[in-house]
């Protein structure tokens, strides 16, 4: 059985008013914040996540290379792996990447990506006073959050 | 009932009568009697596997209605 992505259960309600057509939008926004802040939720918090799809639906399908590359780059950095160390980089790649899944990610790979998503959702929830009610307001704040996050973590 | 024991008929009548008094169906009485018949010449009649099968059969044959359950609670 294919491994699926997991998004925090509460994110469903949180993003509800924005009316995105698919859940992957919720996942993506949370993931980007999590990657920007290099924040992963701990294992025991992952019980609060629920599974949904086992692939990158459009419009994310065509951009999955970028998402995965960004994820791997962040993960290598967070684990303190020197990008010039061939052996360790190769080892990580073999743990996280597989051609045998629609996502190109192994079970481990998806699991770690899910943790960035969960971590990102926690930040979103803290930063916004209330659930976002309109796309435009959300986009503005979201873009600002990403910029601020990357300014401090880079 | 010549191969079942002289007193089997007496026991059979008592079980059926008692079942009626307790509002338990004749099916249940028959299952109990079947076990008794089996026990007459079978030393394995009270082996664990036999006990499990036969007690389950007896249990399955008894139906308790909602009313009876509530009446019991009212007691």
């Amino acid at each position: 059985m294919a491994d699926r992505f997991h998004a925090p259960v509460e994110s469903r309600d949180w993003f509800k008013k924005l009316g995105f057509s698919i859940r992957m939008y919720d996942y993506y926004f949370c993931l980007m914040i999590g990657l920007a802040k290099k924040r992963k939720a701990p294992d025991d918090e992952m019980v609060n996540s629920e599974e949904f799809v086992e692939y990158f639906p459009e419009p994310f399908g065509s951009g999955k290379s970028k998402i995965i590359s960004l994820f791997l780059e962040t993960e290598l950095s967070l684990l303190g792996i020197d990008l010039s160390n061939r052996k360790t980089v190769q080892k990580l790649l073999m743990e996280y990447i597989t051609p045998n899944s629609l996502t190109w990610l192994t079970k481990k790979g998806i699991s770690e990506m899910d943790k960035y998503c969960a971590g990102g959702f926690e930040i979103l929830r803290d930063e916004f006073d209330d659930r976002p009610a309109s796309k435009y307001a959300f986009f503005l704040n979201f873009e600002r959050l990403i910029s601020e996050a990357l300014a401090t973590t880079v | 009932m010549s191969n079942q024991g002289k007193y089997y008929d007496t026991i059979e009548k008592s079980i059926k009568r008692a079942a009626k008094q307790c509002d338990i169906s004749e099916d249940t009485a028959d299952i109990i009697l079947a076990w008794l018949e089996f026990a007459y010449n079978n030393p394995s009649a009270f082996d664990p596997s036999v006990v499990l099968t036969r007690t389950s059969l007896i249990d399955d044959s008894i139906n308790i209605s909602e009313v009876e359950l509530d009446l019991e609670n009212a007691d």
């Binding site: 780059e73 503005l140 873009e143 | 002289k6 026991i11 509002d23 076990w35």
Partner: protein
């Protein structure tokens, strides 16, 4: 009367056990008829207790008595042989049946072997024919192999022995067993449900009902709110239409507002377009932030620098190992193969290479688009959205202001009403949200609004309630079945005891016509009529008559094997037992000691001619051995002598055996 089932003991053999080695036969002649009465005299210390246990074991199939003592205890003292045996020959319904007990003292084990002439020959284990299993078992065997005490126990108020034997023979005992096992079954079922008390059940029932009621209430409330929402929306729509209609009648204002409304529509369309463009860009990480774009490129570059994926895949090296020569031309010897194997473990498989190459292609070639441009584009779109939002608000405000210049009372009242309705609509919307939320902050169910949370809780409570309901059902069933079986047992027992009383009294009439004592009833003991003035011997006769009547009524013609049948009885009363004994059973075997001879055995001889006299003793007293050799018939083994002779029997006198 039942169909007849008969069992006779034809004899037994004992070898290398605690009692003297011997082989005894109760046959009368060449055929399989056995003596009606056999008296087996064994002085104290001859191993009578051992023989008794062996007999009970062989006729019940139950090794417990042997195992409790320890198998080694049955070995003949001083013997170097590790094997022993005890074989009993029987005649069951005219067919030969033998039960052997084989002892292995070295391993401490004991085995049964059964040979039945109508069966499959000699088989290992205790396997008498099924019809014999009714009484060749531990429960039943002790009622035809017993000591003299048993008979008197039937008359003792507190012994309960009469109930016991009736339970066994009539299957009332089996009914009790069914009751017991059914009770245990229900206990286990109730345990499994996790709740056994009525309070527990009621608690869960209340909790379930509370959840159900709360959910229903909230659903009704939501329904009302949704209805109010619809009504409010319809009213708002109506008011808006009326307001618009009024404006249509005010030409100047209308033209001004129409222009603004057109502008607002254009701004809305522009907003939709900008929103889509923003969404399109924002879902690309490299557009979201230049740092992200740099990160993606950095990753791709590092793969290049590390030469990942390699040009050559692991499979290449695996195939190379099978070649005769390497690429460089050197021969593929063991050393070369080992080196290549080391290398290939460091390489990636070809499948992953494909994926990595795809990932590398996500890097944006610098000459096509600088990674900053996309981010700038996103920022620009978001900026335009902001401007558009301001413009839309301003436009809407202007429209409102124009509308507010209308001072017609009706129109003003209409707008006021509309405003109030809008506020109400907002309130209803917020209220409805609580019911549609996935979570609920309430600490108890009564204060919970979320339908989803309530449904989940209801499901949980329903499960618990059903489980406890199941437990209650088991309780009820347990009580019902107990009542059924208890009532059935009591009624059947009354009827059966009444029948047995009648049968026993008829038998007493038959075998002891001069005896006026009768059984008044059977409770846990035999309750006799007219007990005053009746002797112990007479009472005991009743007890024996009861037992044999019981068996005969059920069609069981079994041997009676009694240890010291008259010993507990006073000398003068032994005669009564002796008169009765020949009438009790087709075969009566009594283990006697010399002190029983007077009073019992002489009376016995008066009432029965077919008596076999056997004496078994150890051959360690030469004078007695010598005397025995003058008897009518004797068998001598390595350590014992068995003499079949009446005179010898009567003269035999050893106070205590020396081991």
């Amino acid at each position: 009367m039942q169909t007849r089932t008969s069992l006779n003991i034809l004899g037994w053999k004992s070898n290398n056990l605690r009692c003297p080695d011997h082989s005894v036969s109760f046959r009368k002649g060449e055929d399989n008829d056995s003596h009606r009465i056999t008296l087996l005299q064994m002085p104290n210390g001859t191993g009578k207790t051992t023989l008794w246990k062996l007999l009970r074991t062989a006729l019940s199939g139950d090794k417990t008595e042997l195992q409790e003592d320890g198998i080694i205890e049955f070995k003949r003292k001083g013997s170097k042989d590790d094997l022993g045996s005890f074989d009993v020959s029987l005649l069951f319904n005219g067919a030969m049946l033998s039960i052997e007990i084989d002892f292995d003292f070295d391993s401490g084990t004991v085995d049964f072997w059964t040979t039945y002439s109508k069966g499959k020959g000699r088989v290992q284990g205790f396997h008498p024919p099924i019809e014999a299993m009714r009484f060749l078992n531990n429960n039943f065997a002790r009622f035809f192999i017993f000591d003299g005490e048993l008979a008197s126990n039937f008359l003792r108020k507190d012994s309960g022995k009469t109930r016991e034997v009736i339970d066994v023979i009539s299957q009332l005992g089996d009914l009790n067993n069914i009751n017991k096992f059914l009770s245990k079954y229900y206990e286990a079922c109730i345990d499994n449900c996790g709740v056994s008390t009525l309070q527990g059940f009621n608690r869960r029932k209340s909790a379930y009902q509370e959840a159900k009621d709360t959910l229903n209430r909230r659903k009704k409330e939501l329904e009302k709110l949704e209805s109010d929402e619809k009504f409010t929306e319809d009213s708002l729509e109506e008011l808006t239409t009326r307001a618009d209609d009024y404006i249509q009648t005010q030409k100047g204002i209308r033209e001004g507002i129409e222009g603004l409304e057109k502008e607002l529509r254009n701004l809305d369309a522009e907003y939709k377009d900008l929103e889509n463009r923003a969404l399109n860009l924002i879902t690309q990480p490299d557009a979201l932030s230049k740092h992200f774009a740099e990160g993606i490129t950095k990753f791709s570059d590092s793969l290049d620098k590390l030469k990942l994926p390699e040009n050559v895949a692991r499979e290449f090296f695996v195939e190379l190992r099978d070649e005769d020569n390497c690429i460089c031309g050197r021969p593929m010897d063991k050393e070369a193969q080992r080196e290549i194997k080391e290398q290939e473990t460091k390489l990636l498989g070809s499948e992953i290479i494909t994926v990595l190459n795809q990932l590398k292609s996500s890097k944006l070639p610098p000459e096509i688009q600088k990674f900053e441009d996309k981010n700038q584009e996103l920022k620009a779109v978001l900026g335009k959205i902001k401007e558009n939002d301001v413009a839309r608000r301003n436009c809407a405000t202007e429209i409102e202001m124009k509308k507010n210049t209308i001072d017609d009372e009706n129109y003003v009242a209409l707008i006021e009403k509309k405003r109030n309705l809008e506020i109400k609509s907002e309130e209803i919307s917020i209220a409805i949200e609580k019911y549609r939320a996935i979570n609920d902050p309430a600490k108890n169910i009564k204060s919970t609004f979320s339908i989803q949370v309530l449904e989940k809780e209801l499901k949980k409570r329903e499960k618990e309630y059903l489980k406890s309901k199941e437990a209650q059902a088991f309780q009820v069933k347990s009580q019902l079945t107990k009542k059924l079986l208890k009532n059935a047992y009591q009624e059947a027992q009354r009827t059966i005891c009444s029948q047995i009383t009648k049968d026993t009294n008829a038998r007493i009439e038959q075998v002891m016509p001069y005896n006026s004592i009768r059984i008044a009833g059977i409770e846990s003991y035999l309750h006799l009529e007219g007990q005053k003035g009746s002797s112990e011997g007479e009472k005991l006769s009743i007890a024996y008559a009861f037992l044999t009547s019981l068996f005969h009524e059920c069609g069981y013609y079994l041997p009676f094997i009694v240890d010291s049948p008259a010993n507990p009885i006073d000398l003068e009363k032994r005669g009564k037992i002796a008169e009765l004994v020949p009438k009790l059973a087709d075969q009566f075997i009594a283990f006697t000691i010399s002190s029983e001879r007077s009073g019992f055995l002489d009376a016995l001889e008066k009432n029965e001619s077919d008596i076999q006299y056997l004496t078994l003793f150890r051959n360690n007293i030469p004078s007695i051995v010598e005397k025995a050799k003058h008897a009518k018939a004797y068998k001598e083994t390595g350590n014992g002598m068995l003499v079949e002779d009446k005179s010898f029997f009567w003269d035999f006198q050893i106070q205590k055996e020396e081991d």
